[in-house]
Amino acid sequence: MKHHLILKVITKFMVGVIVLFGLYVQFHGDYSPGGGFQAGVIIAAAFILYGIVMGLENVQKVMPIWFAQKAAAVGVLLYALTGFFSIIFGFEFLNYHAISPEHPKHGQHYGIILVELGVGITVTFVMIAIYYSFAGRTPHLDDKEW
């Protein structure tokens, strides 16, 4: 896509906006529609868009394969550790009261944010990893073939 100048310029501009919107959906998940799943998909869409327009090699410079793989695991780990945190302090698994026993409502709030963050991280990087594994398989298409 060497000569698609407009696409490239718009993409560079849009990627930041999409990620920002994704973060908004992520952190407003506890007040309004949204949350980890939606945010993860939106943020991953930014990377996938960049990969489609700029090429797989370029997006993999920003987001290497190994990083996507490990970060996906870190998200799950964050979720599980939030649960274990409650167990260590003598509450049920994923009982967010443990995070702030004096103010259970705050505890619920923080707990939801942590868990949704874990979901968001995992969904983002799993989406990117799926894109990589599909995109990495196709033979390179020349511009003329479009």
């Binding site: 793989q69 490990k70 996906a72 695991a73 870190v74 998200g75 799950v76 780990l77 599980a80 550790l81 649960g83 274990f84 409650s86 167990i87 302090f89 003598g90 509450f91 049920e92 698994f93 994923l94 009982n95 967010y96 009261h97 443990a98 026993p101 004096e102 259970p104």
Partner: protein, 499 residues
């Protein structure tokens, strides 16, 4: 709940039901982050040992007929998710945990022959996720949670089966078939859950059971039940829905085949049992007719037809896979008799067959390390050059036939008793006929192992591979002599389920 409490009040002992499920779930992502194949094996093994330890504690806690409950996140059911451990699922938790630990000992050295080294970390991670799913399905008392864990275990199973592609590319199509069939099964299952939720407005098993009994003859509930039976039928490889199983078992790596053959189909059958007895009303006419008119004939067909097909198979992994179908028939038959004894025999056979089939598949895997394939002709004379592996195979084979003194005898005897008690003479005759077919196909292998000369001589496999095989083989004998673990717990479980 617990809004006034400043400090938590729960001891570590109270957390056993959840720790059973999340221990492997916590380790799985850690493996991916660390990305070291020896460390991966070590951590997985420690994790499965922890699971085994927890499951033994749980079996001890519930063996007097008590029930352990655990509220996830402190939310009281029916709003929150509840975990309930009683005798019926404690015994399965034990089976799954111990098989996973034994299989991991075997995988330490055998995995190098089957899977490229750079994939080992992800393999163990997937294995632990599969374990999490299976344990979760068994432990939970929330029907949607059952679906979620079922999908966790199924999705990781598809990946695990596909790993056989390194040796045989046909693993890919086997895995794809399994993916399609398994997904259809899961869809049916979740539609069934949807119907139940529509009719009762609840997802907690105990709560649903109460509401269903008030609803009486309700078409929505019946449709939901039918969907669940078909969905689980696909997952447990009930006979017309079994086509994914032989290929998936044949082409998967040995480690995976052992683990799946011993646990996955049993877990699906457990879900069916749980739904019949703890969610629906087992005395309901609809349920009884469905089991008598549909499941019993299918179970009998599975017993006979799959055993006959097994006789003619040249690939021994496939032979054992068909024999698994027949054994699933026994378990389904025990359930469809709808009597206490029948159900107890079904539960006991789940455990006994788990150990038996794992021992058989694992010794086949050990043969395969030397011969590179498991066609019957390449096993010639291995009884002399690999005496220990062959010995374990013979013990497993005897247990599969149901020779007195082995685990298989106990459960088949119970099943026969149950069939005679309910007055199904023909069924009892067919059970014996199916056992005779098992004699034929096991004898066929033993004859090749011991009574034919080999052109090549192989050396016996290493101690680390022999140890898990013999642990399983000794379990086959132990469970045939000491029945306190299986029969007593199963009787306790049936009393709870039939209350």
């Amino acid at each position: 709940m617990a809004s006034e409490i400043k400090q938590g009040t729960l001891e570590l002992v109270n957390h056993l039901p959840i720790l059973q499920v999340i221990t492997p779930m916590l380790i799985a992502p850690i493996l991916v982050v660390l990305n070291n194949k020896t460390l991966s094996w070590l951590l997985s093994f420690v994790g499965t040992l922890a699971c085994l330890f927890i499951s033994i504690l749980l079996v001890q806690a519930v063996s007097d007929g008590s029930v352990l409950t655990y509220y996830l996140g402190g939310w009281i059911p029916p709003i929150g998710i509840e975990y309930r451990i009683d005798a019926a699922n404690a015994i399965l938790l034990f089976l799954i945990s111990i098989i996973s630990a034994i299989v991991l000992i075997f995988s330490y050295s055998s995995l190098y022959a089957e899977i490229p080294e750079e994939k080992h970390t992800l393999f163990y991670s997937c294995f632990l996720l599969c374990l999490t799913g299976l344990l979760g399905v068994v432990a939970t008392a929330d029907i949607f949670n059952v679906f979620v864990f079922l999908e966790i275990s199924s999705l990781s199973t598809y990946v695990l089966v596909a790993q056989g592609a390194f040796l045989d590319r046909r693993a890919l199509s086997a895995s794809f078939n399994y993916l399609i069939m398994g997904t259809i099964g899961a869809t049916f299952f979740v539609i069934g859950i949807g119907y139940i939720y529509m009719a009762t407005g609840s997802l907690n098993m105990i709560d649903i059971a109460e509401r269903v009994s008030q609803l009486g003859d309700n078409r929505t509930i019946q449709a939901g039940f039918a969907f669940i039976v078909v969905g689980m039928g696909l997952k447990l490889a009930m006979v017309p829905l079994h086509v994914w199983l032989p290929n998936a078992y044949t082409f998967a790596p040995t480690v995976v085949t052992c683990f799946l053959a011993a646990t996955a189909t049993k877990v699906a059958l457990y879900v069916l049992i749980r739904f019949v007895f703890s969610v629906f009303n087992y005395e309901d006419n609809f349920v009884n007719e469905l089991f008598f008119l549909l499941l019993m004939p299918l179970a009998v067909i599975a017993m006979i037809a799959a055993s006959v097909i097994a006789i003619f198979k040249q690939n021994l992994k496939k032979l054992l896979a068909y024999s698994s179908l027949a054994q699933i028939g026994y378990m389904l038959l025990g359930l469809s008799l709808m009597s206490q004894k029948g159900l107890a025999s079904s539960l006991v056979h789940m455990v006994n067959h788990g150990f038996t089939k794992a021992a058989l598949f694992m010794s086949l895997g050990a043969f395969m390390l030397n011969t590179k394939n498991v066609y019957i002709k390449s096993l010639r004379g291995l009884g002399k050059s690999m005496p220990f592996t062959s010995g374990a195979f013979v013990i497993g084979g005897l247990s599969l036939i149901g020779v007195p003194g082995t685990a298989g005898f106990i459960s088949k005897w119970l099943l026969l008793e149950a069939a005679l008690e309910t007055g199904y003479w023909l069924v009892a005759v067919l059970i014996i006929a199916s056992s005779l077919f098992a004699v034929i196909y096991i004898w066929k292998i033993i004859e090749v192992l011991y009574f034919s000369d080999s052109s090549e001589s192989y050396s016996e496999v290493g101690a680390l591979i022999l140890m898990p095989i013999w642990i399983l083989a000794l379990f086959c004998i132990f469970l045939g002599i000491n029945t306190s673990l299986t029969v007593d717990v199963a009787n306790m479980a049936t009393e709870i389920l039939f209350k």
